[in-house]
């Protein structure tokens, strides 16, 4: 039997979550005695197989077909289901990315298996896999088992450590029947930013109502530039129209877990904490010494962010 990682690539570039999923897949395969396989789907992507081998993969199955150039959930789910029918894996891992969030459940419905989404940990003990998944955006954590021969899980980005390892590294072609797509992609608009994507970022600088207005985000962007960070926002700042919703961190926004989360002018409502509480280190900057953010911040600075952030930017620039 095997553990299969569904590889995610965009425009011929592998996503970071794929390396995380492969690394976790390898750890689990070592514990359970399964082989680790990767399924690579796309058009003109066969060359990516070599990069996957670095993460201990025993076999890479490549589905390279012009009809798969653009991802659509219905077609990709059909390809995955065909591979699962042939392979009968014990476990299939996806990233909990925009793609994984819809492809995994669509495939799970086709295969009729259980899926645990947004896992923070997966363990193998006593012959079964145990999946840990946050509920109420992290206000509680549930441990789950999946009943049935095939189990599926999506893994939260930035949580599972990347580790290179050895594997047999065979590459095989897989050529299933490919159905016609029910949707047509007519346009793609990627944000023209050099900043990392919010859910993948190692460092996030977020701003809230305490910034005083949309122009306050210039400070946050300045800090993000010097740290190579992504820019996030509280719900209050999004609701006020200062920032687009895609930047919102919290229970009704993105759930993130960077190494460093710098919250400036954010009070720390339970709604917001739910989205960033699993960050490794939290810094809170707020003029209100009683703000709830100080109850969770590893380092808290009570002060005027208009003074603190420029000074912080200067200090960080000195180091570069």
């Amino acid at each position: 039997m095997s553990i299969v990682v569904c590889v995610e690539q965009r425009d011929g570039k592998l996503r970071k979550i794929t390396f995380e999923a492969l690394s976790e897949g390898k750890r689990l395969a070592t514990a359970s005695g399964e082989t680790l396989k990767a399924l690579l789907i796309g058009s003109g992507i066969a060359g990516l197989a070599d990069e996957l081998k670095k993460y201990g993969v025993d076999e890479v199955a490549v589905v390279d077909n012009e009809a798969l150039a653009a991802y659509t959930s219905d077609v990709y789910a059909a390809v995955l289901a065909a591979y699962i029918a042939q392979e009968n894996p014990a476990l299939v891992l996806f990233g909990h990315s925009a793609v994984g969030k819809e492809l995994a459940p669509r495939t799970a419905a086709k295969v009729d298996c259980g899926l645990v989404s947004d896992c923070l940990a997966v363990t193998f003990a006593d012959g079964d896999y145990l999946f840990s998944h946050p509920v109420y955006a992290g206000k509680a954590i549930g441990s789950y088992k999946v009943v049935g021969p095939v189990r599926m899980a999506t893994l939260r980005p930035n949580v599972f450590a990347v580790a290179e390892s050895e594997g047999a590294g065979a590459v095989v072609d897989f050529a299933p029947e490919i159905p016609a797509a029910k949707v047509t992609i007519t346009g793609v608009d990627m944000a023209s930013s050099d900043r990392p994507e919010l859910t993948e970022a190692d460092i996030i600088c977020s701003g809230g109502r305490g910034l005083g207005g949309p122009e306050g985000f210039a400070l946050i962007e300045g800090l993000a530039d010097v740290l190579g960070a992504a820019v996030g926002s509280s719900r209050a700042a999004v609701d006020a129209g200062w920032r687009e919703h895609a930047a919102q961190v919290g229970q009704t926004g993105k759930v993130v877990s960077p190494n460093l989360y710098v919250a400036s002018g954010i009070s720390g409502a339970i709604q917001h904490l739910a989205g960033m509480g699993s960050s490794k280190v939290i810094v809170g900057i707020n003029k209100d010494g009683e703000a709830n953010i100080f109850n969770v911040a590893d380092y808290g600075i009570e002060g005027d962010l208009n003074k603190v952030i420029p000074a912080l930017i200067e200090k960080l620039k000195e180091l570069q």
Partner: protein, 259 residues
Amino acid sequence: MKIVACIKQTFDTEAKIVVGGDGQISDEGVNLIVNPYDEYAVEEAIRTKEKDGGEVVVVTVGGDKAQEALRYCLAMGADRAVLINDPALAGADSRAVSVALAKLLSEKEAGFDIIFTGKESVDDGVGQVPSRLAEKLDLAQANVVTAFELSDGKATATREIDGGSETLELVLPALISAQKGLNEVRYPSLPGIMKAKRKPLEVLALGDLGLSVDDVASKVELVAAELPPARKAGQRLTGEVDEVVAKLVQLLQDEAKVI
């Protein structure tokens, strides 16, 4: 045109979560609401009907209390509601819920043109039902949609992808899962609330759908729930701005080792 909105009743996002002695999350004293993302779905369904005509049917899987959530959607302007309520569905996983909804929408409530759902619920937050339902009903889908338009029987949706957005054309019938930003959700008016009391709300058990308890067996089982380790307040850095900032940078480098 027949427009379906799928909703879920969930805890208020301000709710504090308590794990009971049985290892399950307690709903005692918790304020229940229509899942916020589902409100965008209901709103979009009503707007589509207001523009193109037809009827809006709101459906959910839930217990007796879920009737309140359905009445709220009727008060917003939906025409009728269906509640699938069966003891066998208590604690149902996404698979079980989508099996029940798919059976309802492929037989008793067949003939829909569009299904709107929220992109996920704010409770378990897994967002599986939209994609599972789309697959079971063999529909085109657009997930995490922030703009939607319907013209000449063709749907156009803009959706969020990691680091950007994508525009899709879908052949009807299709399933659209709503993201915040899709629309501004209306509050029910007083006449709307009065009218909602007389609107049809049908309650169906599994047997009424021709489903058995085995058909809706959950494949994901909760072993235990626990509260996450609480974060503790760390150090408060005080002093002049320059000192504080220097101290912070030193701690981030030497103690936390994150920069």
